[in-house]
Every structure is written in C-alpha cells, then in structure tokens.
Symmetry: C2
Subunit: 350 residues, 2 copies
C-alpha cells in the first residue's frame, strides 16, 4: 500500500468538495489503486494568509475525511480546536519526511497569481507534488512552475484548472502522445454556452443571461464569463501545457458574447447551424495563434451538439486524425473529482 | 535518455504502419519524451510460425526504421538477407538484458487466441512489456495475461486492440480514475455505422453494403462486422479491462444489422433521430450486462452525431457525470499510432 500525505490549501467550495470526495472514495482508492490517502493538514485562507501569518489544522494520519470535515466545520473559535496549531506555518507543514501531494484550491487571481503561486512554488521546492484547481497561479507562471517540478522530480497536475472533469489535458498529453497536435477548438465555458443555446431558442441576450443567473449558472457579475475571459484563461493554459509554451493573456485575442453581430445571430439560428463561443489554437509553423471567437458551426462539426452548460474540445492531429471529448461535471464536485484523479495518476504504476 | 528495445511480431498492415510511424516519430520521441526507440528484431508469421520453427530479422541498434523497412521489404529470399537469423527463435530473442517492449500484431484468432496468446505470455514471463493490437489473444485470456503482467512488474497495453486511435481505455482507466463507471455505450464499428448512416439517407441495406465494400470500408466477407461480432469483441475487451472481469464472448448478447426490423428503420429515419448499433455495458450491482443492440437515438444523445465510419463512446460515472470521446483514425496507421502512444506511456514519468 502506497501512502499519500495530503495538504489541502483553501477550504472554499472546491476544497470542501475535495474533502468530501476523498471521504467517499478512500476505500476505493485503497482497493483499486493500492493507495492510502491521508490528510496531513488543512490551511484555510479564511483563517490566515499562509505566507504572512500562521496557523493550520494538523491531523494525525488515522483520521478519516468525515471526521476531519466535522472538525474543521466547527463554528466555535478555531483557536480552541484541538487540531488547530496557531504557531505552525506552511514552511513547517511542508517540512516532513516523505512529502506527498499539496492540493492548492485558494481563490484564483489572474493578475498576480497570489497567494496560490507562492504556495505552489514552496511546495514544489520542498519536494511535494502539487495538484491544483487554481487558474490564476498557472496563468501567471505555468512555465516557471513546470520547470520547478521537473527540477525537483515531482509532479505538477492541473486538470482541475482547465475544465474540471472534462479530461482535456489527459487526452492531449496522454492519449495523443506521439502525435503532433495541429489545431485545438473548444467550447470551454458553460455559462456562455448556456446563454447561446437559449438564444438559439429565441431568447434575447438579457433574458438568457437573467435565466442563467436565476439558475445559478451565471454569476451576479458575469463579466469574466460573457466577455470571454474564462475561455481565454483556459485556452491559454491548455496551449502552454500542451505545447510547452509561455504565452500570456496578452497573446490571446478575446471576443465575448455581449454584442453579437446580428448577421452572426441570424446565421446561427438557421436549421442545422449553431452559434458557439470557441477557444482556439491554430499553429502556423512555430507560431501559435490563440483566440476566443464566435463561430457558426454546421451540424457536421464535432462540437455542434455540445449544448447548454456542457463543454467539449477537439484536437486535430497528424497521425490520429481528430479526437473530440465532451461532457464531464464542471461544478466544485467535478473539480474535486479531477483533483482526485490527478492524485491517483501521480502514484499509479500500471 | 531512456532506451526502449522493440520487438515487432507480425508484419502485416499494422506492423508495417507501426514501423513507418516509428520512423517518422523517432526524433520527436527523443526530444519530447527523452525516449529512444530501437528496433531489436522483427519476426513475421509469413516466414515462420514463431513457436514452431525459427528465424527472425535481428538488427543492430544503430539502424533506423527507414533502413529496417528497406531490409525487410527485400523480395529476394530472406535466408540470404544479412539480418536474417535462421536459427533464432522467440525464446532467444526475448533472452536479452534489459527487456523493452514486444509489439504483437500477428493475425487475430478469436477462438484460440493463437499465435498471439503464446507470444504475449512468453514475453511477459520474460520481463518484457507488451503493446498489442491483437484482439483474439485478449478475448481468450485477458485476465490471465493481466495477472502475468502484474506478477512480472511489466505493462500490458491494449489500446490498439480496442478502437485504434480512439482513446477508450485511456479515458476509462486514466481520465476517470477514482470515479465509478456506471454504464458504457459505444459506436464501436465503423463499417456498420457507415452502412446505417447511408441507410438513413434512403439506401437499402444491400446497396449501402455494396457501397461500403466498393470504398474499401467493408470486407468482401462482411459477416464479422455486420453481424455485430466486432462490436461484441470490443465491448467485451473494454468490460474486462475497465472493470477487471473475466467475461467471455458467450456472455455478450449480440445483434447485427442484417435484418433490421422495419419499425426501427422507420423510427431511425425520422427527423432528429438516428438508428445506431451500440455496444453496451450496464451494471446491476456486481453483475454486468453486455450487449450489442440496435437503438434509435434522439438528437440530444451524446453519440447522435457520430456518423459514417466514425466511432465514439460514452461513460456514465458517479462523480464526473458523463464523458464522451469520439473520432480517432481507425485504419492501420491509427492502430500503429495507438501502439506508439502506449509505448510512450509505458516509459513516461511526468
């Protein structure tokens, strides 16, 4: 039985879902993968800024995820919780024999990448593997982090940051290994795809957006989604990870769905056609052209049927033709399942 | 640089395509994966039955795939080819220090699994990894082979045998790791899917079959495809590999497309609907129900748009919702690309 020590940084929706899913799947991981997942500690940004102040929950290995969930959910002051160690900071937490996996789920900041970026750097430097759902840190310095992981002979896994349970990077890096990927096209944002799908049914943009907000699909401030930035983050991350590049957000030409030209809207409403917001990478020799743009697909296109909040991505290759993957839960539970998947694959040997 | 010694058994369409693709991709494998692919030997069933008689092409490591292709393509008697070793059999070939990967591409026999089954057993027992496109051997004794691989701490990779470049097993075993797969549904045979797609356009069965034969999609004797057996082989292999079972062909309920009930044909020709031949696995507790059956899909179904010779498969899971993968070249070059992918993934450490 291999033992994987886990440190969870960030205890928001994804962090909580991760703890839950490990609770559900701990037996399965033991039986199917010979892998024992042991929570070592949880550090929540709510209680302290890891790099500036101190304090963390530190557990004996014998506790299971359900017990831990009860402990950290105690509303009474953390300072009197028996597992709360006020004097311990990230440096001490990382300083153990046989490091395992640090799971980084703190809030994402696309400008500075902090605090995730510093957490991930420290962990990799300390010989820890990292699995993260934190887009911001990866957008700011994926290449630097990847090099740090290679230098320290540890894994940096980022499935949770690209599209939760939709296995984009697994397919690109593992299933298409040995081929040359010539182009990528994806529907990578559920909110915009939901709005466009409803607009095809006749709803105006404002009504479709309101419906999405009422259903909890769109956020109160939907700018990041509807202006195309979430798609841009993802296509940028995918490009840098798949092609080993160091592009930045400035290199992505970004279009949103807030001002759709009426000609496009009309064409996209015709029978057998659909208007979609695509994240795209086109290779021109050594150069990569990254863009987020509206496109009318006809019904022979692989992504034509990807409707509502669903996502999908197509890879065009030289030796394997075109491979498309669609679906995959994209809520916090989907992201948590993707983190667990990445952890299992760090340890697998078959 | 890791060095992978390769033995190729079988030099038909897939074996030749494999040699070609390694020739094209050897530099890429060195640069991207730090992996040097070195052909050690080629044994072709055309020249000898490996287990009964002897003789093989054995190469110095310095030859590249293009040189090897020229050597083995020489029409003049193999016995005078300088690389032809008449006294060497599989046992001697396998008996080298630091074994690599044996690639098994001999013709598939679904009844006995031979000669592939014996080749694979010998290789695994000799400490060789195996990548194979040979369905027959795997249908007859996948579990036995898998156990042998585990016992010898080597890999048994079978992507090439399930649907060439469509990454069915990668997605099920790698991308969905940690989840519970609840059901599987796939369009797994290009020939029947082509015929059904053309019938939806109004062609009669005989005319659609003839067209497929004229285009080289269907074989002169199309029974294996149109009676559903190829789909049955694949869904059986997928079930045994994904769920670690030992079902046999007798456990699969098989329907073909040779006598489609007119009611189904009519329903499948309606607007927004399509008749498909599906390979299916449904779980009922610890029991798995395997079948190949005709089903009318409506246009919200994930596999609705998989037309012509294309293939696709959907996995329903507990934590990641439904994930569908479609496309992937399915000719000998696609199978060869899948073999190369499997070899790269045996050696990867990232």
């Amino acid at each position: 039985m291999k033992i994987s020590k886990l440190i969870l940084l960030g205890f928001g929706n994804v962090g909580r879902a991760f703890l839950n899913i490990v609770g559900e799947k701990r037996e399965l991981c033991r039986n199917r993968y010979g892998l024992d997942l042991n929570f070592h500690s949880i550090v929540d940004i709510k209680f302290n800024s890891v790099l500036k102040s101190k304090g963390a929950f530190v557990f004996p290995g014998s506790l299971d995820a359900k017990e831990i969930l009860e402990i950290v959910s105690l509303k009474s002051p953390e300072r009197v919780n028996p597992y709360w160690k006020p004097e311990i900071g990230l440096a001490q937490i990382l300083n153990v024999e046989e490091p395992g996996v640090l799971i980084e789920c703190t809030p994402s900041d696309g400008k500075t990448g902090e605090p995730g970026l510093s957490h991930i750097r420290r962990a990799l430097d300390g010989g820890w593997n990292v699995a993260t759902a934190n887009k911001g840190a990866l957008i700011v310095d994926f290449r630097g982090l990847k090099e740090l992981a290679l230098k320290n002979h540890v894994h940096l896994k980022i499935s949770g940051a690209t599209a939760a349970a939709l296995p984009i990077l697994d397919v690109a890096l593992y299933s298409l290994a040995g081929s040359e990927i010539l182009a990528i096209e994806g529907i990578l944002n559920g909110t915009t795809n939901y709005i466009l799908t409803r607009m095809r049914k006749g709803l105006a943009y404002d009504a479709a957006l309101k419906e999405a907000q009422d259903k909890g699909i769109a956020e109160t401030d939907p700018a990041k989604d509807v202006e195309g930035w979430d798609t841009a983050y993802k296509i940028l991350l995918i490009t840098n990870a798949v092609f080993d590049r160091a592009y930045s957000l400035n290199d992505v030409k970004v279009e949103g769905i807030t001002a759709i030209p009426s000609k496009l809207m009309k064409e996209g409403s015709e029978k057998g056609r659909a208007l979609k917001l695509l994240g795209k990478v086109i290779r021109e020799g050594e150069k990569f052209i990254l863009e987020v743009s509206l496109k009318v697909l006809d019904n022979s296109h692989q992504l034509f049927g990807v409707d509502g909040t669903e996502k999908g991505i197509s890879f065009l290759t030289d030796t394997m033709a075109s491979v498309t993957v669609t679906g995959g839960k994209s809520d916090p539970r989907g992201a948590a399942a993707a983190l667990l998947k990445d952890i299992i694959n760090i340890y697998r040997s078959d």
